[in-house]
Symmetry: C2
Subunit: 373 residues, 2 copies
Amino acid sequence: MVDLNRRGLVLAAGGAMAAAGIGASSWAAPVAAPSGRKLGYAIVGLGSYGLGVIIPQFKHCQNSRLVALVSGDPAKAQRVAAEYGVPERGIYNYQNYDGIRDNPDIDIVYVCLPVSMHAEYTIRAAKAGKHVLCEKPMAPSSADCEAMIAACKQAGKKLMIGYRCHFEPYNLEAIRRARVGEIGKLRYFRSEHGFTANNPSAWRLKKAMSGGGSLMDIGIYALNAARYMTGEEPNAVYATERTDRSDPRFREVEDMIEFELEFPSGVLGSCMSMYSANQNHILLMGDKGRIELEPGTGYRGNRLWVGNGRENEITPPPGPGANQWAGQLDHMAQCVLQDRQPIVPGEEGLRDIRIIEAVYQSAREKRRIALRA
Amino acid sequence: MVDLNRRGLVLAAGGAMAAAGIGASSWAAPVAAPSGRKLGYAIVGLGSYGLGVIIPQFKHCQNSRLVALVSGDPAKAQRVAAEYGVPERGIYNYQNYDGIRDNPDIDIVYVCLPVSMHAEYTIRAAKAGKHVLCEKPMAPSSADCEAMIAACKQAGKKLMIGYRCHFEPYNLEAIRRARVGEIGKLRYFRSEHGFTANNPSAWRLKKAMSGGGSLMDIGIYALNAARYMTGEEPNAVYATERTDRSDPRFREVEDMIEFELEFPSGVLGSCMSMYSANQNHILLMGDKGRIELEPGTGYRGNRLWVGNGRENEITPPPGPGANQWAGQLDHMAQCVLQDRQPIVPGEEGLRDIRIIEAVYQSAREKRRIALRA
């Protein structure tokens, strides 16, 4: 159960959103980056996200630098290393990966692999004495998540999950306004998240690699937003899945899934996830108005309205980094430098995966599933 | 079960949307009005809808004229009669209402009373030998609806429900484009309908008069749209209600209710109804695009987009009447003149009420409720 009074008091007393704690129930905004020392990152996986999205961000970072790459493709690794100034000793493959333990340049490993490999490469990094930033969704199962958390704890290393929206200015501003009561008492949350998965051979569509379909990959943004926008943890879910199994893209994983989240305060959450259309929308309704984002969790171009309808468009103050990825990379580096818990630690990833498991169970069993407090 | 192939063939063969039949499963567009004879209407109830919305529409009608009023307020009735040219013999109260049987001016009775009075005044009209147009929602219970249908059938009189959106150009155009396959195979329907009920003493908020809360009054637009946009009847529902019972407006009826509709073809419907915020939105997604209306079911100002996103805004061709109410009034008159079944007969109202009963049951019992075919 969420202690709403306590959180309300904390906010009222200090306006402090950066209070200690984890997860949506004690949501905390990232603090500004201290300049100075840069920690070294190893990027594991040179796919479209690791190579195309993450690696180009280091030039925007204050506390993070790229020092190593892990790839199964030696030529690609050489090419990327040359382009980004990664030294020869920073190039690894999946066989010699454990050798990162002997590379003092590497402080943090960022796991950008298919979901099924997250647990293994997180645990091996922790055993090699490295902190870990792991892409979302955290893992195919809550058991995997628990093992990842345990491994990092045992190694005395930090574990953070790549929830970039927690470092994105429009989402941060939406959360801030919700928390200070700008739309009154919260009542209803709605989010639709989807994109058109066009490539039938993408690993996202192979259950053994992805752990699931649209919910794991894109619907998780709606779920995570439901939690950070309301600041609560759901205590029951109901879900219905609709997938055209004759579509070659969806032989193994779900396309469309609608799910409802019941929150202890009475807020009702309703989410839709799909792999067959582009949709990116967040709505939070209170008894005095609404907060709306569309797109809400895009790489760029997000928009925010606060009030009633879409008359009052908001331009938020800058986020903690030059962009959401730089903010995320630097936050992890700062947590290591200052020995703080990341605002989106492994426990945050585990929470989403536990809820996702309940959502899948609800869809299978066609019944409401209560969640443990 | 809906015979999709049969409907598809009918549409492909003739482009004929005005085929015989009832309800969403055989949705039919109203045909153009023949000019000529005007049938006489008695308006029962001079409240905000009957007096403020319906009565001013007769001047736009081709086959309908106002000939009688039924009111419990003699002074108001006299004033309205004088303003609209209703003769003295056309003024009734609730005691002498059955005397309409002796007034040959009256062909059709339009029941604009609180919901709890719909059955009684429909049945008495039928027994008085008059056709009936009854406002939505049809009645507080399906048993009432069945009694209304039986009474009109026994009297050999027509019964139509006031689903104005079936005569509204934007909705008709949206339906037409969905039916001809412009957005491909239908996948998902979503609608949010709400308004801020400000007056705690309104009859809408008294359960004995309204039969229920936002779902009966405004959420029914989302439900009816789910049926006419998809052309299908749901075979299961799931619902969650959230009402602040400490709010003086909501001591007796629900405020917010979220409900899911499962359709036999696999289309998933998701609807939200509320009495505590303004919301009016309809989204229909197909595998080749989407149809969106916002507002979707307003008295005026509706907007329609077809394609992907909101790039392609559509201005529909004119509807069957000068406006949705004139179209509705004239449709009923034409059905009487031509001895046709209205496109939204009593059975259409009964269908919604049966689904609403299942939605309420689902919310009470926190479980999925299967609907009889």
